[in-house]
């Protein structure tokens, strides 16, 4: 490979990573500021949102055969956002203070899919409670006419259990 080609490849992959990072940081920002409708707009219409439990291999497990914490299809993702907008979603009324830290972003192309793997810490604070969720995100991203959209988001908790936590009432 010539130096010029290598530089071209490096440029491409850096550019792709920057585009994906921009998407992930935008996502984090929207979740932190409770702009959930806009968050939903980052996803494709057939998107899924998963949070596997701690005692399965979260990188490979499927919610069709293992009990997950969250296995949202597009209908349920929308309903999750609708529910969280109501005062009857008691767990998030008043709303928690939320902060998503996203780092160590790795990106690779897999045919038409862009796969991203990143690390997260999500902080949720509300009255007596301050919990940290630690883990890694697996994002499946597609390029829709120059715009990156998330087709699948899996939040793998690198935790032994959801303790002392009691709930994932926010969006991770």
């Amino acid at each position: 490979m010539s130096t010029a080609t290598m530089e071209r490849t490096l440029e491409d992959s850096l550019l792709l990573r920057l585009r994906v990072e921009e998407l992930l940081f935008t996502e984090a920002d929207l979740l932190d500021s409770w702009k959930l409708e806009s968050w939903l707009a980052l996803f494709t219409e057939d998107a899924h949102y998963y949070v596997p439990p701690s005692d399965v291999d979260g990188d490979t497990a499927t919610p069709d055969t293992s009990l997950f914490y969250i296995m949202d299809d597009p209908v349920r993702m929308r309903e999750r956002v609708v529910r969280l907008s109501k005062i009857g979603a008691h767990s998030e009324h008043p709303r928690s203070k939320v902060r998503h830290l996203v780092t160590n972003v790795r990106v690779e192309r897999d045919g038409d899919i862009i796969r991203s793997r990143s690390s997260f810490i999500v902080s949720r604070a509300k009255d007596i409670t301050h919990d940290l969720f630690v883990g890694h995100y697996l994002h499946e991203i597609v390029d829709q006419g120059g715009e990156l959209k998330i087709r699948k988001k899996t939040c793998v908790l690198d935790m032994e259990a959801l303790r002392p936590h009691a709930r994932i009432s926010i969006i991770l």
């Binding site: 949070v51 914490y69 109501k86 007596i128 409670t129 959801l162 009691a166």
Partner: protein
């Protein structure tokens, strides 16, 4: 009349009051371990979790680390997971396959039945040391199974499991009848905690009264989701199952993979659900089949086993580590032979309502934690009211509180006996 624990059970005035210190008092919490967790039958696990000989799992039950094994002959053992030498945890894995368990400290190695197989440096010990009963892993004093449900008891004496379960046994049998080929725990455990007293979760797990307010957003979600609602109204009764166990049994509008079809499952789904129902009818008879398929049940087996057979089946156990903190483990139970389609919908149903990421449990948690916080007011506000339905003629409704009163009466009896 006032009971020893301070519970007021006044039938004439239709009043049942529970003192709030039952949820906050450190000395009551300690007594609960002596009088309840060290005396009652406690859920350990399900046979399907050790499907093959030579498998094991570790689990904490009422603060004690337990090693649950199946030896090569297929026998089940419940061992206190501590080395007889210096007390270190012997098995440090959550689950796996293996017939020998080596303590990582000095290498003492035990079989699936807890016997000492290998003693490194045995020349330093007298003859007969290795077979000394004191040098083997200790079995939990009692372990019994009811169907595929394994329970343990930390007390050597007391009633057998079937006697203890009383009428709750029939509901456990009913669960077994969901399938011609047996039930299994689906892989994946929901492990979480709540910053509230453990008895608040027992109450909440079969509280039919709180749904309309606490879970309004869940009910609205069912309404929003086209075809998620069936025709059956929320209606039913509370049943005292004796010995502190109780349940509410009722019809509900949600779909049940065994076997209550809702429009969202489509015509193909209807064929499958109809076939499941037909098989059920031919196997257990029309009356029992209707009960299994059409009725939901929330059951609490005293003190800390919840089996809710609702839009899916959850097996849930919990124990306190402090008056205001509990740890919870929850599993999904399902027919072994279930098709991929039905299993998927079962888990989809489960996560819709149940667990830390569901559309209902987070609000239960909020209610429990806010109760615990509210108890700090002290002063004259000393009692919780559990009277609903006491003045009613006839069977208590599913949204009354008779099931909780049955639980509290047993709680009081156990603590009072311990104090006597």
């Amino acid at each position: 009349m006032a009971l020893t624990t301070g519970i007021i059970n006044d039938k004439e005035r239709a009043q049942f009051l529970v003192p709030r210190r039952a949820f906050t008092d450190r000395s009551i919490f300690e007594k609960e371990y002596e009088a309840i967790f060290n005396k009652c039958w406690l859920y350990l696990g399900h046979a399907s979790e050790l499907a093959e000989p030579g498998t094991f799992l570790t689990r904490t039950v009422a603060r004690r680390p337990i090693l649950f094994t199946r030896d090569k002959e297929g026998e089940y053992h419940a061992l206190l997971n501590a080395c007889p030498h210096r007390g270190a945890l012997v098995c440090r894995e959550r689950h796996g396959k293996g017939r020998a368990f080596m303590c990582m400290y000095h290498g003492w190695t035990f079989g699936s039945d807890g016997h000492l197989m290998t003693l490194p440096g045995s020349s330093g010990y007298p003859k007969g040391f290795k077979t000394d009963p004191q040098k083997q892993m200790v079995h939990v004093p009692r372990m019994e199974r009811f169907g595929d449900f394994f329970f343990i008891n930390f007390s050597k004496d007391g009633e057998d499991l079937a006697t203890y379960l009383a009428d709750a046994g029939d509901t456990l049998k009913l669960l077994g009848e969901h399938s011609p080929g047996g039930m299994q725990i689906v892989g994946g455990t929901q492990e979480y905690s709540i910053r509230g007293n453990w008895k608040l979760l027992a109450e909440n797990s079969f509280d039919g009264y709180h749904a309309a307010c606490n879970h309004s957003t869940y009910l609205e979600y069912l309404g929003n989701t086209k075809g998620a609602l069936g025709v059956d109204p929320l209606k039913g009764e509370a049943v005292d199952l004796k010995n502190g166990h109780a349940m509410v049994e009722y019809t509900a509008p949600w779909g049940r993979p065994i076997a209550n079809w809702v429009p969202i499952w489509g015509e193909e789904g209807k064929k499958e659900i109809d076939a499941v129902y037909a098989e059920l009818q031919s196997r257990v008879g029309p009356e029992r089949a209707e009960r299994i398929a059409k009725k939901s049940r929330n059951m609490v087996i005293f003190p800390n086993l919840v089996i809710n057979d609702i839009m899916a089946i959850t097996v849930r156990t919990f124990f306190p580590t402090a008056p205001d903190y509990m740890e919870i483990n929850a599993w999904a139970l399902a027919p072994k032979e279930e098709t991929e389609w039905r299993r998927k919908f079962r888990l989809y149903n489960f996560t819709e309502f149940l667990g830390p990421g569901g559309f209902a449990t987070p609000d239960d948690v909020e209610a429990i934690e806010k109760c615990q916080q509210g108890y700090a007011v002290g002063g004259d506000a000393q009692y919780n009211d559990i009277s609903k339905g006491m003045a009613r003629d006839g069977a208590p409704s599913f949204d009354d509180e008779a099931q909780m009163r049955a639980y509290w009466v047993e709680w009081d009896r156990r603590l009072s006996e311990y104090e006597a």
